[in-house]
Subunit: 326 residues, 3 copies
Amino acid sequence: MAGDEWVDALVPKIMEGMTACWACPVGLNTERGINLAGQKAVHQVVEDLVSVLFPGCHGYEPMPEHNLKEGMEDKLRRIAAELKDQVKQALQYQCTVEHDKDCSKCRDCQTKAEACVSGLFKALPAVQATLQEDIVAAYEGDPAAKSTMEVVMSYPGVYAIMVQRIAHVLYNAQVPLIPRIMSEYAHSRTGIDIHPGAQIGPGFFIDHGTGVVIGETCVIGKRVKLYQGVTLGALSFEKDAQGRLVKGTKRHPNVEDHVVIYAGATILGGETTIGAHSEIGGNVWLIHSVPPHSRVYNQQPRPLIRQAQGRDRSVNDYGDDLGQGI
Amino acid sequence: MAGDEWVDALVPKIMEGMTACWACPVGLNTERGINLAGQKAVHQVVEDLVSVLFPGCHGYEPMPEHNLKEGMEDKLRRIAAELKDQVKQALQYQCTVEHDKDCSKCRDCQTKAEACVSGLFKALPAVQATLQEDIVAAYEGDPAAKSTMEVVMSYPGVYAIMVQRIAHVLYNAQVPLIPRIMSEYAHSRTGIDIHPGAQIGPGFFIDHGTGVVIGETCVIGKRVKLYQGVTLGALSFEKDAQGRLVKGTKRHPNVEDHVVIYAGATILGGETTIGAHSEIGGNVWLIHSVPPHSRVYNQQPRPLIRQAQGRDRSVNDYGDDLGQGI
Amino acid sequence: MAGDEWVDALVPKIMEGMTACWACPVGLNTERGINLAGQKAVHQVVEDLVSVLFPGCHGYEPMPEHNLKEGMEDKLRRIAAELKDQVKQALQYQCTVEHDKDCSKCRDCQTKAEACVSGLFKALPAVQATLQEDIVAAYEGDPAAKSTMEVVMSYPGVYAIMVQRIAHVLYNAQVPLIPRIMSEYAHSRTGIDIHPGAQIGPGFFIDHGTGVVIGETCVIGKRVKLYQGVTLGALSFEKDAQGRLVKGTKRHPNVEDHVVIYAGATILGGETTIGAHSEIGGNVWLIHSVPPHSRVYNQQPRPLIRQAQGRDRSVNDYGDDLGQGI
């Protein structure tokens, strides 16, 4: 790059502007000597954890049967070491920057980080068992699914719930930052945005999935099935006396066992409960509770049809069967 | 990692729980010695095939003109070898695990795999020619498109149909697993979920595309144009006497030549046909056929407008031009 | 690969078909000796620029405080050299292929490319400052956000606007191809499709974001907030005397300061202006202007509810509070 005078002249000036900006701390990942793991390092831990749960499925190399156990033990050790560091740094960041304490010398974050990772590891077999139920639910719930292996290797809804179930364990252990980076990694890959705080029962299946949003305080029962574009969201946000949003309240719906929610439906509010065995039709907008065994659907749509050469026909000419298809 | 006692204590216990889970076969990619190619290996084949169809466009390195032909021949050879292995393993998996036979020693899967890859390669020039029509359709169909090269290098709808046209050839050859992993790779990158089974004519253009779902048994004609969030889906699922979903039936719509479907429209059902030259308006919900040259749009929406200081105005104050914009 | 006779027989034939197709120039990135940078090379520049704006946040390695300044200077130099080459090639492509001139020997593209990159670099501190406002808006606008660092590291809307603000500078400098490849990279990762041409004020926040589309000629004010699935699009396309779409006209809406647009709303047309401090409800379809301080929402939805055992209840049994939740 020698001789690139225009670059030599350019860089120092820009640096001045940029470093001046560092005075304002928003989003500077080196403040007070704390270097949080980058996004991609957290993504790598997610991929490694998934590869332990489903060996050989999501990575590049197959994992040969004869040294599967050794390979997994090695991987678990590497994950433990790496994730512990990431969690420790996240805890130190929270302690130092958010709570404004000097946490650099205490061993507290270290101890907590080990406890968090141990907790996750101990939960892994149960997470794996629950995911098996999710996979079976997907296979049984989609006529296009040819085998459970196809479900594991190509269903975005299954990938999203894999990552969420892992992130949820860390969220419950009050790990900052890491669980959200994990769930956002799944969102980025699948278009499915499930907050790590959401509580979701086994046998959960999201088909297609792009555009699904599941909020932090959702509680979802067993064998629930969603389609693309479903929102389980907040109805409105509580504000405090200063007009700031109140954080941490119950804002998102409850969905009981065996509910099916079709594409594009929107269900909002922390006091909204969808009773067990209900079906919510496509594009329905619902902001209050419905009892078990309800079928909720929009009124008959009446799209107008105009044909060429001036002939207009009302939709009734095509019969009266324009339901919501649930 | 020596001295990490907490890890040494942790790992063996977790392994017990995990390997116990392997007794249940769902999603274990090492069963009976078959090691399917991992997801990422299939993704690599997709990228290599795309780089042969559009040299230098989607990868990192440019592909210099002077050794373009040699470079492509090399790449085709590598793809052939790699994809043949992947297809062979997928066929063996299907034969061994799904059909419960001993397929490890027969040459049948090997022979079939070669035939599948040969078939795909022979189809590549025709696929490329069809994609050229798709690219032209995108350029002509979007006022924001500045050049066909911009379309190739930055239009997600074009990428999604590239991958689908490749995967569709393998789907027709009854290759298990691989075509769905390929199409899901495109879904992950684009938010556009086109099943490899869908039959799609030339000059196909999806603009923006996030949230589009096109089902397995769709049949789409020539010069069709879709916008983001369009679903061409199933209306309901047939069940057998045991209450299980029937797989393999015609479940998704037909869309004839020169149809335009605007953002967020939902068209459902295997008996639904959208006649040629029709326009389907944004957010329309349609579950029955319409004849050629139809214009289908929602009835005038009547959103309410409330202004500050108690003044309420009906939407009519703003005129009566609130159509669906098709 | 020696001995793979089936491959040896296969490849030359395919090559014939493929190279024949090269006669038609659509999408061939080697024409007349110009080798545009591949997609992935442009993506790398985006990641490098983001890593300069938010050191250590989005990559793999942390960026230690002690050599932060040096590391950034190095990175800026590398970006400058690489991006200059990419821009130069894009200009040469435009000049040679689109305008059909011989631009290979003139220094014009070189000089312009340096000016474009200098312009972007000089704009970086201002871009960074604006992004800080975006981050604060996200933190203040979402009850689930625990810290500004969480926002930087896991909010897709923030990532999308980062990339758009960079691409917008290059778009304004009339760089072909590169800005759209950049914004499509963000679209691919986030499901948020913001055209580099859109003019967007500071304090912009998109929550969740999947399915958002913001067109080329949108003008958006300060402190605007959008949710997932919002379209700011074109109502219809002008055609010329030959029936071809007219490119470059104002086609997309204006959104004034402090507007909130809820999930799934569609706002269309170049003459549509949403007045300051307005709220647009979920799923609203709007194709005309509304004055400042408007609240626009759909009429009360009346989904029907059918319960088990023949009991039907109208929605009114559940009260009359079925608003649009804005």
